[in-house]
Amino acid sequence: GESVGLHLPTLSVQEGDNSIINCAYSNSASDYFIWYKQESGKGPQFIIDIRSNMDKRQGQRVTVLLNKTVKHLSLQIAATQPGDSAVYFCAETRPGGGADGLTFGKGTHLIIQP
């Protein structure tokens, strides 16, 4: 399988519990943020996004919170399931950054315990 999980922070949660994955972003001017999920041996998969004019956005079982004051982004996963095991990483886009204006975080490895 893919070794992208090595050297990453790890979050271990019990199946059924809620998970909170955090991300500190670097550019206070960034205006668009994305969470991706990456399973072993696969490419990153879009989960949810949020623009800087919002503080919170909800999807199916996932919520993203944006705190621009401290440049912090979090992903909450409700009722975690075994299929949620993956590496999760955030990405930020600087305004007017164009195609090369996207910066990815290094990720957090989420492990679901039965």
């Binding site: 070794s3 050297h7 668009y32 041996g41 195609a99 910066t103 290094k106």
Partner: protein
């Protein structure tokens, strides 16, 4: 996702040999990207394309070249592979830029011995 196919999925090659990785998309997205993923790093942009025959360099473009002769195909070439280019390479697409999420292929694992 977004009908992105990367080939090959795995390749082992020797130092100094040329290597070409292929990305094919079926969504007619204008923008295509090549990233590499290494332990301890976030995804890093190698090159990108904003249309047929329109390409530009990313953060880690040294040692790589790209070509886009058709909307659906984006090729990444390592002219003379080095061990530092051992990595997992991902192709991605978007219909627009800056404010829409990337759609990724499933990657090519390249090992340079």
């Amino acid at each position: 996702d977004a009908g992105i196919t990367q080939s090959p999925r795995h390749k082992v090659t020797e130092t100094g040999t040329p290597v070409t990785l292929r990305c094919h998309q079926t969504e007619n997205h204008r923008y295509m990207y090549w990233y590499r993923q290494d332990p301890g790093h976030g995804l890093r942009l190698i090159h990108y394309s904003y249309g047929v025959k329109d390409t530009d360099k990313g953060e880690v473009s040294d040692g790589y070249s790209v070509s886009r002769s058709k909307t659906e195909d984006f090729l990444l070439t390592l002219e003379s592979a080095t061990s530092s280019q051992t990595s997992v390479y991902f192709c991605a697409t978007t219909p627009g830029q800056g404010d829409s999420p990337l759609h990724f292929g499933n990657g090519t694992r390249l090992t340079v011995t």
